[in-house]
């Protein structure tokens, strides 16, 4: 143990002298790794155990081991993975980050730990595409920020952006796109896992691709990362991990017989019911309820400020409402989660989602509550005054109970929208219902079945809320002439 510590200390010292800076990972004792979690076979959840596994994941684990630190994975959609890296959500990206000049300028890129070749995938019966030149005028499905999108675009293809490789292949299967350009490793792995014969590798883009870790510029991590990779390469660990996940690549063909019988779609849905319910109960519903309650409190305060005779208060309230209603919810989420850390305010995913959704509900519900309060006749305020109630008393005992009746139908709309809007939290690392469906669907390529199941869950939640709304309305209508 003492020797290990000493070794770790010496390593740190070496790293420091080499980079002229501290290795923050060593001092923190944990390597935080950003990865997609839906990119089979590099980063995905094992359907049997639910564990995060894959080539990149295991390489990252091995590197952390070499560095003598713990490893912590942060699952992030590819398209926001670099934003999250910049926001210091994690230290490195391990997600088949292709090494290119552009990225080298912006990030610290390690030596490659996987080397592949770009290939063109088409439907099996499509012989019109053999080389990059044939992509002109075709439609390609690619991740928005991946280098394959650039390759396809430069070759003259129109690029449909997708969430991940498996989704791209799905679109190709369905005939919605003509071609997918991706790394040979991923394609072979897909063919091996699914036994899919409806698509084929039609050609090569004549371009080697090297993938490595990405860290923030001047992170001071590179020397240690590269050293660890060198050692892992030398002692055969990288080869072992590669064998485990990418054997299809080595052999060039699926290994018959060693493949588990693919599950039927029906079984997959049945098995997903539990995890999806768990995501709904632990994330989607609490997120909705907490955000809605906080949002209503904000909304009431803003509505009262808007109605007050104080010009400053009124204008602040107006400005708030206008900002919230005038900008996309997705942007609001991103600002809270990705932009605030740049100002030194770092908030965990769930609370960040609660903040963004609460503020959003606050803006919309403020106008509903304001108009509901204004719909109560002035005589009610006056009658409350004449029996001696002050402003707060009149509001609480006379005005708000009546305004509630007016506000419940539109507020129910807001609540039901919120249930579905919480799916946007998947973009800021909250594993809610939709994200869980993505995770389950990724290694199986059964997007429609899983998204459909998630949709049913959303629908059931909204159905229950609608019944609740009817009950509340009936209760509040008891003093109204019918």
């Amino acid at each position: 143990m003492a020797v290990l510590l000493l070794a770790a200390f010496l390593l740190t010292a070496c790293g420091s002298s080499a980079t002229n800076g501290d290795n923050p990972v060593k001092s923190a004792g944990v390597l935080r790794v950003g990865t997609e979690g839906v990119y089979s076979p590099f980063s995905y959840h094992d359907p049997a155990t639910g564990q995060l596994v894959g080539y990149d994941v295991d390489v990252a684990r091995a590197v952390a081991d070499k560095l003598g630190v713990k490893v912590e994975f942060v699952e992030t959609p590819w398209d926001s993975i670099f934003a999250a890296l910049e926001a210091n959500r994690f230290d490195v990206v391990a997600n088949e980050v292709t090494i290119n000049a552009e990225r080298k300028q912006k990030y610290d890129l390690s030596e490659p730990y996987s080397v592949g070749e770009g290939v063109i995938v088409t439907r099996a019966n499509d012989n019109s595409i053999k080389t990059l030149d044939d992509l002109k005028g075709k439609v390609a499905a690619e991740n928005a920020t991946s280098n394959w999108a650039d390759v396809a675009r430069k070759a003259g293809a129109r690029v449909e952006t997708v969430e991940g490789f498996t989704q791209a292949i799905k679109l190709l299967n369905q005939g919605r796109v003509d071609v997918v350009v991706n790394d040979s490793i991923a394609v072979y792995a897909y063919l091996a896992e699914t036994g899919d014969t409806s698509v084929k590798i039609a050609g090569s883009v004549g371009e080697k691709s090297e993938q490595g870790f990405a860290a923030r510029k001047n992170s001071g991590l590179l020397p240690d990362l590269n050293k660890a990779l060198d050692e892992l390469r030398a002692d055969g660990t990288l080869a072992d991990i590669s064998q485990k996940y990418l054997k299809a690549n080595a052999s060039g063909a699926p290994a018959a017989g060693n493949q588990a019988q693919p599950k039927s779609t029906w079984d997959l849905i049945l098995e997903s019911l539990g995890p999806l319910a768990k995501a709904a109960i632990t994330k989607t519903i609490p997120l909705t309820v907490i955000s809605f309650v906080i949002g209503l409190v904000i909304a009431l305060a803003v509505a009262l400020a808007r109605l007050s005779s104080n010009v400053v208060l009124t204008n602040v309230a107006r400005f708030y409402i206008s900002i919230i209603r005038g900008t996309p919810l997705l942007v609001q989420l991103f600002i809270v989660f990705y932009a605030l850390p740049e100002l030194g305010v770092k908030i965990d995913p769930f609370p960040a989602a609660v903040i963004a959704f609460s503020l959003n509900v606050g803006g919309y519900a403020a106008e509903i509550i304001r108009s509901a309060i204004q719909s109560i006749p002035k005589g009610q305020w006056e009658a409350a005054e004449t029996i001696g109630l002050n402003y707060v008393g009149a509001l609480r005992r006379i005005i708000l109970p009546q305004a509630t009746r007016v506000a419940v139908p539109p507020l129910s709309n807001t609540l039901i929208s919120l249930v579905k809007d919480t799916s946007l939290a998947s973009t800021i690392l909250v594993t809610e219902l939709l994200r869980q469906a993505q995770i389950i669907a990724a290694p199986t390529f059964e997007f429609f079945a899983l998204y459909g199941t998630a949709a049913v869950y959303y629908w059931v939640i909204c159905l229950v809320l609608s019944f609740g709304q009817n009950g509340v309305e009936r209760r509040l209508e008891r003093y109204v002439a019918r």
């Binding site: 006749p377 005589g379 009610q380 006056e382 009658a383 409350a384 005054e385 004449t386 029996i387 001696g388 109630l389 002050n390 008393g393 005992r397 006379i398 109970p401 009546q402 009746r405 008891r478 003093y479 109204v480 002439a481």
Partner: protein, 251 residues
């Protein structure tokens, strides 16, 4: 000599450029009924609302019950609330709280403002309901009552606060003609019982029968005041005569 429950001196009130009250002074003796009559726009409702600070005067001084306010200076909120607590107010359109039962409408003030016990407040409210002839309606909602019944609940709500003066703002103007009588008879009973009342009304016959003094307002001033036999029976002012003539012989 009887004590005065209301003493108003030089009350002014303007809404923007429109000067509605131009220096009004009068007194209301304890246990008396005062009716305010006059053409619409003459300031009679504003005058009544000033007694409860629903409209706060710009100048002048008013004492209601035990609280006197000088409106030429800004009045602190707590003072205004104490002043307001001296009187009860009955609205033309009753303004009952639709989400509360008849009983809750009446006990709202006693329980939540005067902090009296629920049992006591409900017992008194039940008594008041008996007095206005609505004991059996205590658990109904306002929408289940007729206009006249709603107005009688409004009166009971005002009385429940045990005010020094009860103010009525055209209490029968929004009612169907056949319902006017039941409300007026309740008000007459109150006068007989010795409540101090100030009533803005267009019911000239009623004013004649019930009131101890009549104020005739016109263009923001009290043009004529005195016992009903004089102001209504034998008005001195030409404008009072014209007004009464228009009301009593509309054709």
């Amino acid at each position: 000599m009887t004590e005065n429950r209301v003493v108003a001196e030089g009350v002014h009130k303007a809404f923007g450029d429109n000067e509605v009250l131009k220096g009004v002074s009068f007194t209301v003796p304890q246990g008396s009924a005062t009716t305010i009559i006059g053409p619409s726009g003459s300031g009679k409702t504003t005058l009544l609302r000033a007694l409860n600070a629903l409209d706060v005067p710009d100048a002048g001084a008013i004492r209601v019950g035990e609280v006197e306010l000088d409106f030429s200076k800004p009045v602190p909120k707590d003072q205004l609330r104490r002043y307001r607590a001296q009187s009860g107010f009955v609205f033309q359109s009753h303004n009952l709280f639709p989400h509360k039962t008849v009983l809750q409408n009446i006990t709202e003030g006693p329980i939540f403002v005067q902090k009296r016990s629920k049992d006591e407040a409900e017992a008194e409210a039940t008594e008041l309901l008996q007095q206005v002839g609505l004991a059996e309606k205590r658990d109904q909602y306002p929408y289940q009552l007729s206009g006249g019944q709603q107005q009688r609940v409004g009166i009971a709500r005002a009385l429940a606060l045990k005010p020094k003066v009860v103010l009525f703002d055209e209490p029968t103007s929004a009612l169907d003609p056949e319902l006017v009588g039941e409300v007026l008879s309740v008000i007459r009973d109150l006068a007989v019982e010795g409540w101090t009342l100030v009533i803005v009304t267009h019911e000239i016959q009623f004013a004649k029968q019930v009131s101890d003094q009549v104020l005739f307002t016109d263009h923001g001033v009290i043009l004529e005041q005195g016992p009903p036999a004089e102001v209504i029976g034998n008005p001195k002012e030409e404008r009072t005569r014209q007004f009464l003539d228009r009301i009593l012989n509309p054709l």
